[in-house]
């Protein structure tokens, strides 16, 4: 299991201390690189704004992520059940990832306006792919002997999928979901840069234009903390969904 929260916290504290000392000793212009203390001061002083905009980004992100995971899972399962579908769809799925997001995002804004939809769509567009690919790989790695055994019990393809393939593929699927979560954070900010009136991505642009470097860093910090929490939530869900792995380790 995890060795605890202390090692990453200590490492983080060390790096921040080094940063703070460097800025002070070398007299760096705070407009170029504000010291961590200034960033923290900014966060505590503007907690309301950061939280409000953080909430906006979080809802876009979660909506897009949920759609991405569900779509990715369904595509993966269908590609496994229908061979022809896998062959037909796979190259097109890869193609969706070749489209530069900055090229599509403005069109989405054009279609759906300054609403949550273009942001969620951007997030979904980049997060479904790792889930779909890992689902397909996970499903294909199921022991063919197990499938044959279930067939002698009279199980059809959907039953085999539900009883053997999906549970067996869970570790791979969750690898995909974790990557999807990391990409979702970037995706949400990207969606906001193209056109929005609130959200952390919007805040970043505003701070940048006004030369408020401390504010920019504060926004990035909030985004990073949000991303880390979400990432670990996925990890906890994974441990919960595969609780049998804990038992399997206590060998007799």
């Amino acid at each position: 299991m995890r060795s605890g929260v202390w090692p990453p916290l200590l490492l983080g504290a060390g790096l921040l201390a080094a940063w703070e000392i460097y800025v002070r000793v070398a007299h760096i212009d705070p407009l170029l690189l504000p010291p961590p203390s200034a960033v923290v001061r900014y966060i505590t002083g503007n907690a309301g704004i950061l939280l409000n905009n953080g909430a906006a980004t979080l809802s876009e992100l979660l909506l897009g992520f949920a759609i991405g995971v569900v779509v990715g899972l369904c595509l993966g399962v269908l590609m496994q059940i229908w061979r022809w579908f896998r062959e037909a769809a796979y190259p097109w799925l890869v193609a969706t990832q070749m489209i530069p997001i900055p090229a599509v995002a403005p069109i989405l804004v054009l279609w759906f306006g300054f609403t949550i939809v273009p942001k969620a769509a951007t997030v979904a567009l980049i997060s479904f792919f790792p889930v779909a690919v890992n689902t397909v790989d996970g499903l294909r790695s199921v022991n063919p002997e197990l499938i044959r055994l279930l067939r002698t019990f009279g199980a059809g393809p959907w039953k085999v999928m539900w009883m053997a393939a999906l549970p067996g593929a869970l570790p791979r699927i969750f690898s995909g979901v974790r990557v999807a979560m990391a990409l979702s954070v970037v995706g949400a900010v990207f969606g906001e840069w193209v056109g929005s009136t609130h959200g952390l991505g919007y805040l970043m642009l505003r701070f940048e234009n006004r030369g408020e470097t401390a504010g920019l860093f504060a926004t990035v910090a909030v985004l990073a903390i949000m991303g880390i929490i979400l990432f670990f939530l996925v990890g906890w869900t994974e441990d919960w969904a595969m609780s049998w792995r804990r038992h399997a380790k206590e060998t007799l």
Binding site: R151, F153, A248, E250, L252
Partner: protein, 256 residues
Amino acid sequence: MAEAIAMRVHGIRRTYRDGTRTVMALEGTDMDVPDGKFVTIVGPSACGKSTLLNLFCGLDKPDAGSIETPAFGTDELLGRVGYMPQQDLLMPWRTVTDNAAVGLECLGCDREDARRQAREHMARFGLRGFEFSYPGQLSEGMRQRVALLRTFLCGRRINVLDEPFGKLDAMTRASMQSWLLDYWQENRCTIVFVTHDIDEALFLSDVVHLMSPRPGRIIRSLEVDVARPRKYSEVVTSVHFNELKACLLESLGREL
């Protein structure tokens, strides 16, 4: 009096392609499996035993020949013949109970009902106290017993067991063989058992069928006229057992 036949295998041929060449796995395979008997197929490795078993449980179809099962009233064997593969194939995410219940669940049994039936048999299969354990926590022998329970719970008239004790150590293997015989004596069904261990075949079976190297066919069928119930220590050390063993080894030697 003629015995009732559970499975009549006649003139089976099965070939498959291996790259560019055609491999003949079975050619002219004939055998009868009498109803309610314990029948064993012994043969050298790669003699087509597994191919034959796949045909028996309906996972594969022969190129020529037929497998008749008068009791089923149909020739569709998939989903009707019980099968236990070499590997235990337990699902690591299911408890012992849930693994044992898999077969029943596939057959459309309600999940709770399947679990209840599985739990009722735990003691008989030496698994009491392990109902909620996961396969990763079990020894090889216990895993194999869960797999046997999974197969037998389905209550098939014909059960095909593919080297179920092949990976066990000698001691566990002997005790599992005795256990299987006891269980079979209480719950008569037809068993087709595959092994490459001649002692195992003789100790367990009513009839031993010897297979030739590829293309596999039955070259010798030997009735094992040893009274039941059989006791391992007595049977395998008896003079008659060794005569039968010599018979089989001789036939096998001629072929190799």
